[in-house]
């Protein structure tokens, strides 16, 4: 499939270079709140993915209509309305999923990354780019949530993707594995401080990988700074 340079850059930005958590250090509240297990992380990630695509698309469509002076209240209004809509519709039509994800849906409102993308990207870009950016940012966020959730879950209880079948359906039961049998458990990792500690490790890991790439070939850093410049 042919992907133009712009789309590739948006994708690289969303998933790695300018990742919501690693690059922008946003959305830490929902991130730390739900990543006790990989399954919860995945649920939160998917819910956020849907809402961020919708909010990016909507704001990009209406971008010429929204005056700069009142853009923030309008963004907040749109995002809150979208989140509430998703919340109500899921409660009615996907109730089993809602019982697992319900808590997270309302938490999406506290996710400043949505407002951040609306402000920094969707309000200045054509709809196609904004939708793509929403998808990629959402995927990047989901990835971090699952990685952090998995790392915390394994270190806390020795399991991985516990209760995944509740979220994704019986056919995904194979995801539930006991990584370390007879693990005594390490409670700290399941509690909020464990989230901070593990997140720090993951960020260090990301920086190390970036450094390695930067040493190998210079263009990567050039690309990153070019993107950072565009964002500001």
């Amino acid at each position: 499939m042919f992907i133009s340079e712009t789309y590739r850059k948006i994708a690289a930005d969303g998933i790695w270079n300018n990742n919501i958590v690693f690059g922008q250090n946003l959305a830490l509240c929902p991130l730390l709140a739900v990543t006790g297990t990989a399954t919860n992380g995945l649920g939160m990630g998917l819910a956020t993915l849907v809402v961020i695509i919708a909010s990016n698309g909507l704001i990009s469509v209406a971008r010429h209509l929204i005056p700069g002076e009142i853009r923030i209240p309008i963004f907040v209004l749109l995002i809150a309305a979208l989140v509430t809509l998703v919340d109500i519709l899921m409660n009615a039509w996907a109730h089993e999923l809602y019982k697992v994800l319900g808590l997270f849906i309302a938490l999406i409102v506290t996710n400043c990354a949505l407002l951040g993308r609306a402000e920094a990207f969707a309000s200045k870009q054509p709809v196609k780019h904004a939708l793509w950016d929403g998808l990629m940012m959402g995927l990047g966020f989901t990835l971090v949530l699952v990685a952090l959730g998995a790392a915390r879950e394994i270190s806390a209880s020795g399991m991985l993707f516990a209760n995944a079948s509740l979220l994704l359906g019986e056919s995904f039961r194979f995801l539930e594995v006991t990584v370390i049998p007879d693990y005594k458990g390490f409670l700290l990792m399941a509690l909020p401080p464990g989230g901070f500690i593990m997140l720090a490790f993951l960020i260090v890991g990301k920086r190390l990988i970036d450094q390695k790439f930067a040493q190998k070939k210079v263009p990567v850093t050039v690309l990153t700074t070019a993107i950072a410049g565009e964002e500001s």
């Binding site: 002076e69 009142i70 209240p73 309008i74 809509l85 109500i88 519709l89 009615a92 019982k99 806390a156």
Partner: protein, 236 residues
């Protein structure tokens, strides 16, 4: 109603005019001219608030019934867990009675009691209650009690206790909560309604004493609520 071709033609023309106007108005250059104007800004803000509220209102109204049905199904499932199927043949959601419960400190000023009937005779009652003083917030529970005051079953519906320690009150994590089955105020002295550490009958958990202690106390208060209204509940 039938429209003659001339009217249809006129309507089409009108629509075309409106569309043309809207298209011109929505041109980025026109909008750029409008955006600095205060009236336009107020209009956009009001317009988006209006659209958002209409959308939410319509969705809320159209899904209210469905959501209520789902919640009823959830409640029914919980009721079925604490009252054995052999004891009732009625719809407990429809057979309810409200009793005042302020003095029992179980989270609500009024408790809805669901009444189980077998061929018209009251066999058991069932109600939701709360331990408001759990280790990290309220512990919501549901209890089934037979007509003589014996516990048929207790389940924790939701809680925020420490995962790995306090969450052993869930039936999915441990069978601790099953140790209440068959207990009543008559066959267990008041002093024994406590965790073993406090000289009572029930186990505490390693690393978590407050969660089971407060759960036991709340269950005890729930039984007292039943006792206070026993006559009224089983012989209405």
């Amino acid at each position: 109603m039938k429209l003659d071709p001339a009217t249809i033609e006129r309507l089409k023309e009108k629509i075309a005019v409106y569309r043309e106007f809207l298209k011109n108005w929505l041109e980025p250059s026109n909008l750029a001219r409008l955006r600095p104007k205060l009236e336009f800004q107020a209009g956009v803000l009001a317009g988006s608030a209006l659209i958002a509220s209409v959308l939410l209102g319509v969705t809320n109204c159209s899904t209210e019934g469905t959501i209520q049905r789902r919640l009823d199904e959830d409640l029914k499932k919980s009721l079925e867990e604490v009252v054995p199927a052999a004891l009732y043949d009625n719809d407990m959601l429809l057979d309810t009675m409200n009793i005042p419960s302020t003095e029992f400190n179980i989270g609500a000023n009024e408790t809805t009691v669901y009444i189980a009937k077998k061929s018209g005779n009251i066999s058991a009652v069932c109600f939701k209650f709360t331990a408001p003083d759990g280790y990290s917030g309220a512990i919501n529970m549901i209890i089934g009690i037979d007509r003589d005051g014996n516990i048929l079953g207790v389940r924790v519906l939701s809680h925020k206790e420490t995962p790995g320690l306090g969450d052993k009150i869930e039936v999915a994590k441990s069978d601790w909560i099953l140790s209440f089955v068959g207990r009543s105020l008559d066959n267990l002295a008041p002093a024994k309604w406590a965790v073993k550490k406090d000289g009572g009958e029930f186990d505490q958990f390693a690393g978590a004493t407050i969660t089971p202690r407060k759960s036991v106390q709340a269950i005890y208060r729930g039984l007292q609520l039943f006792k206070a209204h026993q006559e009224q509940l089983i012989n209405p």
